[in-house]
């Protein structure tokens, strides 16, 4: 039974569509300077407007996630005639795909008609790899001040997300027999997709030997298990389904979006107290189920998956949590070639992901999902009708988005 039956009118299924996407070029960390982060954001939105056949005068809402967006300055610079909805999903990168769900919610509830979701990033001095190091220390520009909760983690030497997710990866290996070769397959297959695209920062193939020769960062994760550190911006414009039909591009309908998580997933890697049942997971099981119910589909209906890939093991755990394979089978699932484009049963990160195209905190995944459904992707999945994009693994909220033609 589809949720539109069970929840009557109270669903946003298919009531909105993505009408435009745009981005700046993607840069290695710091190389976008002297442009300012909000300047990058504006360039991405102007590109998205152009893609949609809209102008800044049409924009009346901003549905955002994570930190660093200066809404007032942005509106003032671009002379947005009237903002009617400005909202930010709580949390960090976990809100990426869910920000489009927030835009859809604004439109379905009648608060705004044309809502932009934007991420802009400039990691010149603010390197996320030291996110949980003591603020003020050399190298710890972007980091949290000491907190009573952090006191129970930081003295261990865990100071960055990669070190912390390595702990989940280690547990996954112990519980399920996952191997480093499986992490390597995520890195290598994603790189193979990236090198076919001129937007990608990584342009050379990655071999298994190179993977195993790379330096260890935090065991079991080596250099190639980590995503890139980048600058750039991506914007996505959502409108009502009816309006989308009159615009320049083929509408890409929002079938579902969910954000949140189980309460005791909680702060996740910054408390390490998650129940054993889902410690070695992506934290996505609840939002996966909700999105599938809203869209009235299952994993078998998804043609292409754009899975947030800050660290390779977390792609494997999302494949499990989204039902592409049983829990614990993700490593063997990728080893069997299932995520390869174009031959795999579920091509993953056809754009090259955070790992090899660019890390713009997950918004490149939404852009790729749109291009796959339009049929214009560089690495097009033939006949793709349903695309999944995700935000996080992260602390609550994690989020997702299901798009269809």
């Amino acid at each position: 039974m589809s949720p539109s039956n069970s929840t009557g009118e109270l669903t946003m299924k298919d009531k909105t569509a993505i009408a435009g996407v745009g981005s700046t070029p993607y840069y290695k960390r710091g190389e976008s300077m002297p442009q300012m982060p909000m300047e990058l954001a504006a360039k991405a939105l102007l590109a998205a407007c152009d893609d949609a056949g809209l102008t800044i005068d049409d924009i009346d809402g901003l549905a955002l996630y994570s930190m660093g967006f200066d809404t007032s300055l942005f509106a003032q610079w671009l002379n947005i005639p009237e903002l009617r909805f400005t909202a930010l999903l709580s949390g960090g990168g976990g809100g990426a795909a869910g920000s489009v769900g927030l835009a859809a919610a604004a439109i379905v509830s009648g608060q705004a008609t044309c809502v932009a979701s934007i991420m802009t990033l400039q990691q010149a001095a603010s390197r996320f790899g030291a996110s949980f190091a003591p603020r003020g220390k050399p190298g710890a520009v972007y980091s949290a001040p000491p907190s009573p909760e952090g006191n129970f983690i930081q003295p261990s030497g865990l100071m960055g997300p990669g070190q912390m997710f390595a702990v989940l990866a280690q547990r996954h290996m112990y519980q399920y027999g996952t191997q480093r070769e499986h992490f390597a397959e995520v890195a290598i297959s994603t790189r193979a997709n990236a090198i076919r695209r001129n937007t990608s920062l990584m342009k050379e193939p990655l071999t298994l030997d190179q993977y195993f020769d790379a330096r260890m960062i935090s065991e079991p994760l080596c250099l190639f298990d980590f995503c890139l550190e980048c600058d750039g911006a991506v914007a996505v414009i959502t409108v009502s389904a009816a309006r989308a039909k009159d615009l320049k591009q083929k509408p890409v309908y929002v079938a579902a979006s969910a954000n949140g998580g189980a309460g005791r997933w909680g702060q996740a890697i910054t408390w390490m107290g998650m129940p054993d049942e889902y410690f070695a997971s992506s934290g996505h099981r609840t939002v996966a189920q909700r999105a599938y119910e809203m869209a009235g589909i299952t994993a078998a209906d998804v043609d292409v998956a754009l899975l947030y890939d800050h660290f390779t093991p977390m792609v494997i755990m999302q494949l499990e949590d989204y039902g592409f394979c049983p829990i614990g089978e993700g490593g063997r699932f990728v080893a069997d070639g299932n995520i390869r484009w174009p031959s795999g049963s579920i091509p993953v990160n056809t754009h090259g992901g955070n790992l090899s195209e660019a890390y713009i905190i997950g918004m490149t995944h939404v852009k790729e999902a749109v291009e796959q459904i339009r049929g214009t992707a560089v690495n097009q999945v033939e006949g793709a009708e349903v695309a999944l994009a995700t935000g996080g693994p992260a602390s609550i909220p994690v989020s997702n988005l299901i798009l269809h033609s």
């Binding site: 006191n151 129970f152 030497g157």
Partner: protein
């Protein structure tokens, strides 16, 4: 002890809920808060019992014997302060009979190759500075 996170990056900032833990730690005693209503342990100490949402706790002594739940060997310094201390082993230790309470700290005086999930550990204490002591672990 070998394998300690440099003291320069440790800065304890207790609040009313965590202070008893750190006060006991300074005396090299491990205590775990336990809900006075339903008996559920919770770590880190928080204002509410996650099971019954009651607030009051009693502080129960624990012998510090636990099981290594997971770990990572930190090989790369994300800030210069830790460079000379590498490799660091960060361990997640589960305490038995506490409904899954975990402590996180350095595994000390140990080669990274010897560490395995499931091994037994004992708790020891790292005196960072006067009045600030944090738990560390040894393979049993």
């Amino acid at each position: 002890m070998k394998g300690l996170t440099p003291e320069s990056v440790i800065n304890l900032t207790p609040n009313v809920w965590t202070e008893p833990f750190w006060a006991a730690a300074a005396e090299h005693r491990l205590v775990v808060p336990r809900c006075t209503s339903c008996g559920t342990h919770r770590m880190p100490p928080t204002p509410f019992c996650w099971r019954c949402r009651h607030q009051d706790v009693e502080w129960e002594e624990h012998d510090g014997r636990g099981t290594l739940y997971s770990f990572t060997v930190v090989r790369h310094a994300v800030i210069p302060d830790v460079r000379d201390a590498l490799p660091l082993i960060a361990g997640i230790v589960e305490l038995p009979n506490t409904e899954g309470c975990r402590l996180v700290g350095n595994i000390v005086d140990c080669e990274p190759e010897a560490v395995r999930i499931g091994l037994g550990v004992t708790t020891d204490w790292y005196d960072v500075r006067e009045g600030e002591t944090v738990p560390v672990f040894r393979l049993a």
